[in-house]
């Protein structure tokens, strides 16, 4: 009974929620990144469990593509963090607000 679909979905949703909470609550840019990764994993889990449920290979392929995209994301994201940290000596995600062009609107 416990191995029915709902259990896997519940797990995935819990992980997803935790990831979301991490994005919302933490300022540490690394943790935000990791939370996003966690959310991606939760989604992967849903895909895979649905694949198992419908006995289809397609979701697994999608999950695999997501992992590949996560890898690409990791590369870009981490290099960005490196640049940012070099300049501002901070991991606070709020300093990214300097990227907005708010001044030109005033």
């Amino acid at each position: 009974m416990i191995d029915s679909l709902l259990a896997y979905i519940t797990l995935a949703m819990i992980l997803f929620s935790i990831g979301f909470l991490g994005v919302v609550s933490r300022k540490n840019i690394f943790v935000i990144y990791m939370s996003i990764e966690l959310m991606l994993n939760a989604i992967n889990l849903i895909f895979v469990s649905l694949g198992r449920y419908y006995e289809s290979m397609q979701p697994q392929v999608i999950a695999m593509i997501i992992i590949a995209i996560a890898a690409a994301e990791a590369a870009v994201f981490l290099s960005l963090i490196v640049v940012l940290y070099r300049r501002k000596k901070s991991l606070n995600s709020d300093i990214f607000t300097i990227l907005s062009q708010k001044d030109s609107h005033e």
Partner: protein, 628 residues
């Protein structure tokens, strides 16, 4: 029949004015066109029209034929046609004859008067246009066509009055004339529209209206008649829309002669006569018209007694004489009114041209108290002016006597004795102020300067002579039966309601004598006061009469000023501070709230995520509730 020639009576001056206008523009832009070319076109157009009119006149003798020419369908709406048509009956052809004839003489005079003016071509362009509009007014076969001429006359008078446009005052006078005329036009248009709805079903021309107006209820007819008369008031300068007439003297003198003698101001009288079938049905409005005329006549005569500007005196005298005409047409004596229009055309044109000659001779001096002794210097002008003055004062056998006598006879025989008394009193005043002018200008000794007089060309003096002959003879076409004559004009214009037949011959003689006596009384007073007038200085006048009863000022304060204030109130108060505030306030509200919303766009991604979270939460809650 050669009815299409009717259209050419109107078209010839139009075409000639167009040609002159184009040539004038050519002359100022490219190469100078000599003056005689302008005068060639300008003078031939009225003459040709006159000849055409005369040919129609000849065809009309002895029968009651009405010539009708429909040129084209002007417009067609809803299956209803309005034509561009021309109609000549005895009334209109009579008008055409003296309009073109007197107009022609004034044209000749103007060719001498305007000789040195730079805008010679322009002047004839306006002049021919004026004449053409007047002819259109007279020959139109229905109210709409008449109205076109009506407005055209108003506009060309504007052009001519503001002829010397560099001076703002002249243009202002032109504006005044145009706006006052437009007030009249408002009445005309209202009358026309009402007529169209109540009586236009069979066709909107005079012949059909004559029939269909019979079935219209009297209150509506009263309204129509009253509104039409508002139009006549504006055009013919009666109380209360006369203010433009004295100011209209801003134009060159031939313009005054044309406006006052042959065209424009007589249009109102003509219109009432043209709509005689309407006014016959509503005698109470006719009486009102007669009273307005009488009061205007008296009022203008009183003002004229105190004026110093030679042209303004004549202007007020025109207004006064128009008042006489309205007494006649108001009381149903249409032929009498038109008779006076006819005689008046001659002597008033003559008076203005004579005055113009004096003005030119004295190098554009218009104050009569700076003139004097002109009798010796310009004897020809003196004699012609004397004839005209005698005519306007009503001394037999000059033209004015017969027509004025008939008007007063009409008033008396209709039982309107008050009108008659006003008429007679005005006749005394008329004789007085006209002879005051004559004595001061031609006998007075005020003009001391020995400046050489300006030369008067032949073209200016010849028309004077012709008009003087006209002023003597014009009255003879309407000699009353009493004096053994035949009232040619009365019989020519048809068997209109004419109440003069109801008095006995003895009464008629008494009235005639009273009139002559009144004129002589006026002359006598003027002689006493002004013969051999000699005053060292130009007198300075004050008082309510000299200030024309402050009518201009009253209009300025009560109407013009108030409208200006209202205009400022609307455009600078309501629009800016009220309507604009509301609308732009709305937009400012949007902009302000936009600022607040923009504050949320603070580039803080966590904040965005949290907002998103709230959104997800709300939507999910909603969906849970909906999807059971």
């Amino acid at each position: 029949m050669s009815n299409f020639l009717l259209a050419w009576i109107v078209l010839i001056p139009f075409i000639s004015s167009f040609i002159i206008g184009v040539m004038y523009l050519y002359s100022i832009k490219v190469a100078r066109v000599p003056n005689f070319v302008f005068s060639l076109f300008g003078l031939s157009a009225p003459l040709l029209s006159f000849l055409l009119g005369f040919s129609f006149f000849l065809q009309m003798i002895g029968n009651d034929e009405i010539f009708l020419y429909k040129a084209y369908r002007w417009l067609e709406i809803d299956g209803y046609d309005i034509d561009m048509g021309f109609m000549a009956d005895k009334l209109s052809i009579f008008m055409v004859l003296f309009i073109t004839f007197v107009g022609w003489l004034i044209h000749i005079y103007a060719s001498g008067y305007m000789k040195d003016d730079k805008g010679y071509g322009k002047f004839f362009f306006y002049f021919n246009f004026f004449l053409a509009s007047m002819l259109l007014l007279v020959l139109g076969h229905g109210p709409i066509i008449m109205f076109m001429g009506w407005e055209g006359v108003g506009f060309s008078s504007y052009l001519l009055i503001s002829y010397y446009y560099e001076d703002g005052e002249n243009v202002k006078a032109g504006n005044k004339a145009f706006i006052a005329n437009r007030v009249g036009d408002f009445g005309f248009i209202v009358a026309m529209v009402t007529m169209f709805y109540y009586a236009g079903s069979n066709g909107f021309d005079f012949l059909n209206l004559k029939e269909s107006l019979l079935s219209v209820p009297v209150p509506v007819l009263t309204f129509i008649g009253f509104s039409l008369f508002v139009g006549a008031i504006g055009k013919s300068a009666q109380i209360p829309l006369f203010v433009w007439l004295p100011d209209a003297m801003a134009g060159p003198t031939p313009v005054s002669a044309l406006i006052h003698a042959a065209t424009m101001v007589t249009a109102g009288v003509y219109m009432v006569a043209r709509f005689h079938f309407l006014y016959d049905l509503i005698p109470h409005v006719g009486l009102f018209i007669a009273y307005v005329g009488a009061i205007s006549a008296l009022f203008a005569a009183i003002i004229a007694t105190k004026q110093t500007d030679i042209k303004k005196i004549l202007a007020y005298s025109t207004m006064s004489q128009l008042g006489y005409m309205f007494i006649a047409v108001g009381l149903g004596g249409y032929s009498v009114g038109i008779f006076h229009v006819f005689t008046h055309a001659f002597f008033k044109a003559l008076l203005f041209m004579g005055a113009g000659a004096v003005i030119v001779a004295l190098h554009h001096e218009q104050n009569i108290f700076k003139m004097g002794g002109m009798k010796k210097k310009t004897p020809l002008v003196y004699f012609t002016m004397l004839i005209a003055t005698l005519a306007i004062s009503g001394i037999p056998p000059f033209a004015g006597f017969f027509s004025k006598d008939e008007i007063l006879l009409t008033a008396f025989s209709s039982g309107e004795y008050l009108l008659w008394i006003i008429g007679v009193f005005t006749a005394i005043l008329t004789a007085y102020y006209m002879f005051r002018l004559l004595f001061v200008v031609f006998y007075g000794k005020n003009y001391k300067e020995d400046k050489k007089l300006h030369f008067l060309p032949k073209s200016m003096t010849t028309p004077l002579v012709i008009l003087a002959i006209g002023s003597i003879l014009a009255g003879f076409i309407g000699i009353p039966e009493l004096l053994g004559g035949e009232n040619l004009i009365g019989s020519w214009l048809g068997n209109w309601k004419n109440s003069s037949l109801h008095v006995t011959h003895s009464t008629e003689i008494i009235l005639m004598v009273i009139n002559i006596f009144a004129a002589l009384l006026g002359i006598f007073i003027a002689y006493k006061k002004f013969y051999m007038y000699d005053m060292k200085e130009v007198p300075i006048f004050t008082g309510i009469v000299w200030n024309k009863f402050y009518i201009d000022e009253i209009y300025d304060t009560l109407i013009v000023h108030k409208i200006k204030q209202l205009s400022i109130f609307i455009s600078y108060k309501i629009d800016v501070h009220f309507i604009d505030k509301i609308v732009m306030g709305l937009s400012r509200g949007f902009i302000r709230s936009g600022h607040y919303i923009a504050k949320m766009q603070n580039a803080n991604t966590r904040f965005y995520a949290f907002t998103m979270l709230i959104g997800i939460s709300v939507i999910s809650t909603y969906l849970i509730m909906v999807l059971r």
